[in-house]
């Protein structure tokens, strides 16, 4: 099948817009022509413009940011702060609400430490509410916080269709003194999309003072988000490398009025206004929360990835991804030996497909697919609670798609799965 920009073709009754962006923009596909990369929930591939921007920084204006007088420092500072502004606009936030971190995991850790500083003198046993579909990054920081404060932790259950059991969630919030609610916007195993804006609004109508936190690691690469219009989302975290940016850069977003009130947990260079022998005052937002030299090249690279995403037609991308999701669901459902996890309705999920096959371990599935140059992931995907308690399996195999994937990739996947099932047939 010839691929071309925006050309439409029909297969199995679906209309396809093939190759929204040019695959040749991504050197990895030029260097590995037979690669079918379906491990995008773990990390995405990088377009040449992102790679170039990192090289450009180190080759032409490498310098530390802020308080430099010389030309290079000036240029590095401008590019770094422009990156912050660009990323802020992309998610509908103010630049001072964007705190650079190394990724979602660090964002959640920093936030938990900031909230420890906030709650450490408070009295009474409170509760932190999460859900059974959370990634370890959105569980462990809260587990540590709970143990330091002597609080409780509660997990919202899932429905039979792998969605959040909202009645259960609201019920726990009505009956307990819940202070923090942190939920994923899109599950990295089930693909389930949680409507955080609506859920958090409802929660705040029950208990207005709850800090509502969103884990956007999987959602932001696929969907437009407007944080300033999502009044109920207090904090939000996402990673650069899952949206074509480099590794080691991510964002912690916080509402300005909250960030102004809260104290930093990480201290050192760059986050102060004045330092005396026994005291210090903090810098303004966002530097207040960014101690130490930031990942300057990472921020610049992520900003380029945002530019690359912005150049695409958002509606076309969403359409491409939802059609691809629908097609993949149908392809995998047609394999009768395969058990697919996640919401059955394609509108309620992102392009993440975790599955198991009776009698074949996920690691063997991943290894055999790799022999056919198809990269998927196998394991618990940092969701042991979900696997052990909800899915009741030790591990699953997961194929996750991104904008450069196409229908051919999915067909290669389903054909290889069918082949390996035959190989293992007794």
């Amino acid at each position: 099948m010839v691929s071309c920009w925006g050309c439409r073709w029909y297969i199995n009754g679906y209309i396809y817009v093939h190759e929204l962006m040019n695959k040749s923009d991504f050197p990895i596909f030029n260097n590995n022509p037979d690669l079918v990369y379906l491990d995008n929930s773990a990390t995405t591939q990088k377009p040449q413009v992102v790679i170039d921007s990192i090289v450009d920084f180190y080759q032409n204006f490498n310098s530390n940011v802020h308080r430099g007088i010389h030309k290079l420092a000036e240029k590095a500072t401008i590019e770094f702060e422009n990156a912050r502004g660009n990323i802020a606009r992309f998610v509908g936030a103010k630049p001072e609400e964007i705190i650079f971190t190394s990724g979602t995991t660090e964002s959640m850790n920093i936030l938990a430490q900031i909230l420890f500083e906030h709650f450490k003198d408070s009295k009474g046993k409170k509760t932190i509410m999460l859900s059974e579909m959370e990634h370890h990054s959105n569980i462990l920081p809260w587990m540590m916080l709970v143990s330091k404060l002597g609080w409780d932790i509660e997990y919202a259950k899932l429905t039979e269709e792998y969605e959040l059991d909202l009645e259960c969630l609201y019920d726990v919030i009505k009956k307990n003194d819940v202070s923090i609610l942190s939920l994923t916007h899109m599950s990295n195993v089930l693909g389930t999309i949680n409507n955080l804006g609506a859920i958090f609004s409802e929660v705040k109508s029950i208990s207005p003072d709850i800090f509502c936190i969103g884990d956007g690691a999987q959602y932001v690469p696929h969907h437009k988000i407007d944080l300033s219009n999502s009044k109920s989302i207090d904090f939000y975290a996402f990673s650069g490398h899952k949206m074509m940016g480099p590794t080691g850069i991510g964002v912690l977003y916080g509402k300005k009025n909250l960030l102004e009130k809260l104290n930093p947990s990480k201290v050192g260079g760059g986050m102060i206004s004045t330092v005396k022998r026994n005291s210090f005052t903090t810098a303004e937002l966002p530097e207040k929360f960014e101690a130490g030299t930031p990942n300057i090249a990472g921020a610049i690279g992520l900003s380029k990835a945002v530019d690359y995403l912005k150049r695409q037609d958002t509606l076309e991308i969403e359409k491409h991804m939802s059609e691809l999701t629908r097609f993949t669901l149908d392809e995998l459902r047609n394999i009768k030996e395969l058990t697919l996890y996640g919401p059955p309705v394609f509108e309620k999920r992102g392009p993440v497909f975790s599955f198991s096959i009776e009698g074949i371990h996920p690691h063997d599935i991943a290894q055999i697919l790799d022999q056919d140059n198809i990269a998927i992931r196998a394991g618990h995907h940092c969701c042991q609670i979900l696997h052990r308690e909800t899915l009741k399996i030790p591990a699953s195999a997961r194929a996750s798609l991104y904008i450069y994937n196409d229908i051919e990739n999915v067909k290669r996947l389903s054909n290889s799965i069918k082949k390996l099932i035959t190989q293992f047939k007794r």
Binding site: G359, I360, H361, P362, H363, D364, Q367, I368, Q371, A378, G379, H380, P394, A395, L420, Q423, F424, R426
Partner: protein, 126 residues
Amino acid sequence: MDLYRQDMIDHYQNPRNYGEIVDADAIIELENSSCGDKIKLFVKLKKDKIDEISFTGEGCAVAIASASKLTEYAKGKDIKQIQKLTTDDLLKIIKVELTISRIKCANLSLQTIKKSINSVDHKQKI
């Protein structure tokens, strides 16, 4: 060499020495927490030799086939010889080439065998 050739799949689907030894001298279970593979090993010694050996467990084809082939190899061998086995020796015994990420799957049964031998009180046995 194809990892998933028929003899590997055969050892995975029909593991040799699978089951429990009721009067075992040692029973040791180890787990690879990253993938959920579990091997429970039962061993009975006669002087310094492995008299009976069996296992139960669940895991990937590499983990189960390795346990199957390694228990076949170990039966009747001197315990010192088993204790000296390296990962390279193991790969020769099970006759596969593994990528770095899968070596731990094969190694689980070797570790379990060594640990179970070490846990037997030798003075009592001799």
